[in-house]
């Protein structure tokens, strides 16, 4: 591993087995299926870490349990855990999660992205920045940032 990385040797965990969402005979094409935890997880599990060739799932930056969904209220909250306390990549990871869900979820959805309490040295500052949509919008007009985000999103599934 090249030195100079913020976390040169992250712990890599095994991926969870991918579950089939619905058994084929079960499909009612007129039924509007509510969005659940698993669907959100499937959208974001394969996002690549900005520093490492591993997915956010493999690094346990995100887990299915850290996703809260209320489909009736059109609300989702993703709590992520940076690999190290001082990870300066935390805002980039948060931005990737926000962009991915912005692209995949219906526009009615309100998305909150935050760092798990106690896992990051500047938790409040990261959370504030990620929830400021004006700063997010400005960041996404920056070609360097959008390139970095797109690179992280490349291995994850396209939205339907």
């Amino acid at each position: 591993m090249v030195s100079g990385l913020i976390n040169a040797n992250p712990t890599v965990y095994e991926k969870k087995e991918r579950r089939a969402r619905i058994s084929p005979g079960d499909v009612d094409e007129y039924l509007v299926e509510p969005i659940d935890q698993q669907e959100i997880f499937d959208h974001i599990r394969d996002i690549k870490d900005p520093e490492h060739p591993y997915s956010l799932e493999e690094l346990k930056v995100i887990t299915e349990d850290a996703i809260e969904v209320d489909d009736k209220q059109s609300h989702v909250r993703v709590t992520f855990t940076p690999t190290v306390e001082h990870c300066s990549m935390a805002t980039v990871i948060g931005l990737c999660l926000r962009v991915k869900l912005m692209r995949c979820l219906p526009p009615r959805y309100k998305v909150d992205i935050r760092v798990a309490p106690g896992t990051h040295a500047t938790e409040a500052a990261v959370n504030k920045q990620l929830s400021d949509k004006e700063r997010v919008a400005a960041a996404l007009e920056n070609p360097n940032i959008i390139d970095m985000v797109d690179e992280c999103l490349a291995p994850s599934y396209e939205c339907r």
């Binding site: 309100k110 700063r135 400005a138």
Partner: protein, 355 residues
């Protein structure tokens, strides 16, 4: 004056204006329109990098897109505002410039470009006489520009003081005192020095003055200018007051004090707040709703209190970023949203017991 106690109020959608292809960040009614036979005009600006001018047809009463101002700003247009005479339109953009537009020979023309901010410009405001312009942005600074003849603008002051990006600037409606609010959770009051052309921070309204505990997104004044309302990511709106006599005596140091906090009404960030000439405070927020508040007669003993007049749920399909009352037709409101639309609303009353 409306009788807020006895009437039932309804906010009726008059029209949904579609055309922007990205979120609408700001809306602005053109002064001196919508009255004396002059058709009402409202402008809107968007993440699609354009500004749209909407004009009400005298024949049908419907608003139509009269002009699209494009190919000038290269990034999001965050804010738009008309000069008090309605002659010029100023637009602030993430491309770090502020553009000045004039309607010349049947077209809107960019007649001046104000450069100086390091990056995103987030807000622009004209003073009451139209002789000064203020801008602010992510570089934490507030700039004051003097309006010279022939569409020339000269920077007279660059104000540093905020520790984070500045979300909005707003001039006081009668006195040349400037207000700015920021991601640093504070509101700052800027006044001109008595003996020079310099400007200084006369007051900072922060947590220690019962101020906001998160980003302050917007502020607005009542008609007389003795009260101000601010709104924040902390899910509250706050009312501030000053001694207007002291303020108008030329003393920029007339202090502003917190008089009440409206909490428990909003569930998500409040992006916009606007105080009508008739005293109705309107808020637009990330829960897709528009709310109206008025001063309540119940609380006169302990100072004024405010009550919710109505909540319009699902006013838009997504976040409401901007609300503005028309200054002429007092019960007419415009709103702009992440859903890309601008909506025109009328506040109407139905008296109880009247069938």
């Amino acid at each position: 004056m409306m009788n807020f106690a006895d009437d039932n109020f309804e906010l009726n959608e008059i029209q949904k204006l579609e055309g922007h292809t990205d979120r609408v960040w700001s809306v602005a009614w053109k002064p001196a329109t919508g009255v004396d036979g002059v058709p009402a005009v409202v402008s809107s600006c968007s993440g699609d990098k354009t500004v749209r001018i909407w004009e009400q047809s005298p024949a049908t009463g419907y608003f139509q897109c009269k002009a699209v101002l494009e190919e000038t700003h290269t990034r999001t247009v965050r804010s738009c505002t008309w000069s008090p005479s309605g002659k010029l339109l100023a637009t602030a953009s993430f491309d770090s410039t502020t553009a000045i537009w004039e309607y010349v020979g049947g077209d809107f023309e960019c007649v001046s470009t104000l450069e100086g901010h390091e990056n995103e410009v987030k807000s622009v405001s004209w003073n009451a006489s139209g002789t000064l312009l203020a801008t602010c942005g992510r570089d934490k600074s507030v700039w004051i520009w003097e309006v010279l003849p022939h569409n020339e603008f000269e920077c007279v002051s660059v104000l540093q003081g905020h520790t984070q990006d500045v979300k909005m600037v707003q001039w006081h409606p009668t006195v040349d005192i400037l207000f700015s609010c920021s991601y640093d959770n504070t509101i700052k009051v800027w006044a001109e020095d008595g003996d020079s052309d310099d400007w200084h921070c006369a007051q900072t309204l922060g947590e220690l003055n019962s101020g906001h505990t998160s980003t302050v997104w917007a502020l607005s004044f009542n008609a007389t200018g003795d009260k101000m309302v601010s709104c924040s990511d902390d899910l509250t709106t706050k009312i501030w007051a000053t001694d207007i006599v002291q303020l108008q005596s030329g003393n920029g140091n007339a202090p502003w004090t917190h008089i009440c906090t409206l909490s428990g009404y909003h569930d998500r960030t409040i992006f916009s707040v606007h105080w009508s000439r008739e005293g109705i405070i309107c808020s637009g927020s990330a829960d897709n709703a528009i709310r109206l508040f008025v001063e309540s007669e119940d609380g006169l003993v302990g100072g004024p209190t405010y009550k919710l007049l109505l909540k319009k749920e699902k006013a838009h399909d997504m976040d409401v970023n901007a609300v503005q009352w028309s200054s002429k037709e007092n019960k007419r409101l415009a709103s702009g949203s992440d859903d890309g639309s601008v909506k025109i609303w009328d506040l109407t009353t139905t008296s109880p017991g009247c069938f």
